[in-house]
């Protein structure tokens, strides 16, 4: 029996920045290997879990993606005194970095804290401003010589954060973006074992999404599916953010409508959720979704693409907060949708708007 919450905790507490996803892929593999027929790794860092459908005739090919990378920092320079200057790999909200505990992944993993000039010694003007990334530094509490023995330029820095349970199904931690979706994808694979499905499913943990959706593009080229489903996070309802930009936590996964999304896929998923009584929210996008959906839609001759998101508060901080029920429902909805896919449906997708 798959314990989704435990898996989410393991995934979020595993360090895996863009281009360095192998540990996260390893956790995913361990959790999902027994649920699928085959696991493959490609030459650039994607992991694919393959589960084959049943029935005669050619099987529709459905690809799911959930990116495995998280935003991290990287050692850009070791300064006099052993302080580390950092570069972004993905976009941390640098306003939230000051005072954080971090883990620096050198020849061994060591703790550090992010510091800057104290307020007492800052001018009034300086205190009004956010401290820019280039003025922050990491203090490892060691001599420069000791630092240089363990740490090198190019080493990764991740947040030191244990994932916690809040009330109900709410959970908070780092890297919920996008281990929430990796968890939803795994739940989907687990659900599929209980269902008859004709489609072959390629569930891909994609690499380097946070620096521009790289893995989804190459994986989509490789698998060239009939349907691509991106799973990612979207903004959760937050004071000061209007309701069209943020969706409610605990009221179901979010389905996106917009130019990157195939309209018939949108309608099919929405109608199925209605019929099955699965809570679902809708988000409207006017262009880029900034997810794996964007590049996948235009791979080779084009792929019908749809996007399911988990609402998440405080994106790109170390306290990303969500409701686990949204993850669970996303997994269930995806599995039930996949079970409905047959060749006739796939063929219908080539007629973009006609019914």
């Amino acid at each position: 029996m798959l314990d989704g919450k435990q898996l989410l905790i393991r995934l979020t507490e595993t360090a895996g920045g863009s281009g360095d996803e192998s540990r996260v892929a390893g956790v995913l593999r361990e959790a999902a290997e027994s649920l699928v027929d085959e696991v493959t790794l490609d030459s650039v860092g994607n992991i694919t879990l393959i589960t084959r459908g049943t029935g005669d005739g050619p099987h529709p090919r459905v690809m799911l993606t959930a990116h495995t990378d998280e935003i991290t920092l990287m050692v850009a320079k070791i300064e006099k005194g052993g302080f580390l200057r950092v570069a972004q790999v993905g976009g941390f909200d640098s306003r939230t970095l000051l005072g954080q505990e971090v883990m620096v992944h050198g020849t061994s993993t060591i703790m550090g804290i992010i510091g800057s000039k104290p307020p007492h010694l800052s001018t009034l003007e300086e205190r009004k401003k956010t401290i820019p990334l280039q003025e922050l530094f990491i203090d490892l509490g060691m001599s420069e010589q000791h630092v240089r023995e363990i740490v090198a330029v190019g080493d990764r820095i991740t947040m030191n954060r244990h994932t916690i349970h809040l009330l109900g199904h709410r959970m908070s931690g780092k890297a919920m973006d996008n281990r929430a979706s990796v968890t939803a994808m795994t739940i989907c694979l687990d659900e599929l074992r209980k269902l008859h499905h004709h489609a072959d499913v390629y569930a891909v943990g994609t690499m380097q999404e946070e620096i521009g959706s790289k893995g989804a593009q190459t994986a989509a080229f490789h698998h060239m599916p009939d349907i691509a489903i991106a799973i990612d996070v979207c903004h959760g309802e937050t004071p000061g953010v209007s309701s069209d930009l943020a969706k409610k936590l605990g009221e179901g996964p979010v389905l996106t409508l917009g130019p990157r999304i195939h309209p018939k896929l949108f309608t099919a998923v929405r109608d199925l959720a209605n019929m099955e009584n699965i809570p679902l929210q809708v988000e409207v996008s006017q262009g880029p979704t900034w997810t794996d959906a964007d590049p996948m839609q235009i791979v080779q001759i084009g792929i019908p693409t749809v996007l399911i998101s988990i609402p998440l508060r405080y994106m790109h901080t170390s306290v990303e907060t969500l409701d686990f029920e949204d993850i669970r429902f996303a997994g269930i909805l995806l599995a039930r949708f996949i079970a409905t896919i047959d060749s006739a449906f796939v063929e219908g997708l080539t007629c973009y708007l006609k019914n």
């Binding site: 281009g19 360095d20 490609d42 030459s43 650039v44 950092v86 380097q208 620096i211 190459t218 080229f221």
Partner: protein, 332 residues
């Protein structure tokens, strides 16, 4: 090596019209390679077969040969040429610059409208003076659409530093030529002198599609952080070749990054880790091709990029040469 770099910095190669530099490179590499061809984007391919004919693996080495340029967009009644940038040039670095037109070889000077403060300078304020007084004469030497590049050539400062307007990336081209001439590998080496890097790595993209190698390595320059008030970068001139960790276009997989570190250690060559989050290279375009191509990079630390006086340390070039040779011989 210094002489090769010197000779490569002279020919012009604006993005989209790389003909002069390409012809020179083709002439240099032809004697020691097995095959040479071009494609419709203007990339030059130089193939050196694997040591044993049984090997079917390919490594693609890429060095862009183009350089940022100024494109003529208009001409006034007195024969002054108005310009727009082809690639990432800054107006402030151009005032008074000497330039040369790639097609005709005509030289010119960049001038600026009078009374504009340096900080307010935009391309609309700049023009090229080619020493004529009317459009009819001007047309003999430069027409709308022609591109001009810097015309400074090559200098040495002290015993170790070289300076040139096109060290980005003729240093990379020189390293690639050297590898094609001397390297021994179990892989077939396809050297690509790529076109149009400065306008979005367009050449590298189609080259990667055509070759679809098992692995690719990009040779390019990276900016140092060792000048007054420069960015937080650990790269220093003279401390060894840079092994690419990431740039603005991709992150190198640990496996391939470490293969370069091992190659450097084997060759006893100095190296530094290159973290350049704001620098673009051909690596990202190659990496994303088709189902993905493992891609890594060797960087030559350089000061004053996108100015007429780019500076490189010769020891870093030597380190890069040693690391590349060692890496190629260890593939297999």
């Amino acid at each position: 090596m210094k002489d090769l770099i010197r000779s490569l910095t002279i020919p012009s190669g604006p993005s989209g019209y790389e003909l002069p530099i390409k012809n020179d490179i083709r002439q240099i590499v032809t004697p020691f390679i097995d095959e040479c061809y071009e494609d419709i984007l203007g990339n030059l391919y130089a193939v050196k077969n694997a040591k044993s004919s049984s090997s079917d693996k390919t490594v693609m080495l890429v060095a862009h040969m183009d350089e940022p340029a100024l494109s003529v967009i208009d001409m006034d009644d007195h024969g002054f040429l108005r310009i727009a940038p082809l690639g990432p040039l800054r107006p402030s670095a151009l005032v008074g610059a000497r330039v040369v037109f790639a097609r005709t070889g005509r030289r010119g000077i960049v001038g600026a409208d009078h009374g504009i403060a340096l900080k307010d300078l935009e391309f609309a304020h700049l023009f090229i003076d080619i020493g004529v007084s009317n459009p009819t004469d001007a047309n003999n030497y430069a027409q709308i659409g022609d591109a001009a590049t810097f015309a400074y050539g090559f200098d040495e400062i002290g015993d170790h530093m070289i300076v040139g307007h096109a060290l980005d990336n003729r240093v990379g081209c020189a390293l690639l030529i050297d590898a094609l001439q001397h390297a021994q590998s179990e892989y077939t080496i396809v050297g690509v002198f790529s076109a149009q890097q400065a306008v979005g790595s367009r050449g590298a993209k189609v080259a990667a599609h055509r070759i679809h190698p098992n692995v690719s390595l990009v040779l390019d320059v990276s900016p140092t952080g060792d000048t007054p008030k420069s960015e937080n970068s650990a790269l220093e001139l003279g401390q060894g070749a840079g092994i690419k960790v990431l740039d603005a276009s991709m992150v190198v997989a640990p496996k391939w990054r470490d293969s370069l570190i091992e190659a450097a250690k084997t060759a006893h060559a100095r190296y530094q880790m290159d973290v350049s989050p704001h620098t673009t290279s051909d690596a990202g375009a190659i990496f994303l091709t088709q189902d993905g191509i493992p891609t890594c990079g060797l960087s030559i630390p350089a000061r004053y990029l996108f100015t007429p006086s780019q500076m490189v340390h010769l020891d870093d070039v030597t380190s890069a040469q040693q690391i590349l040779s060692s890496w190629l011989s260890r593939l297999g």
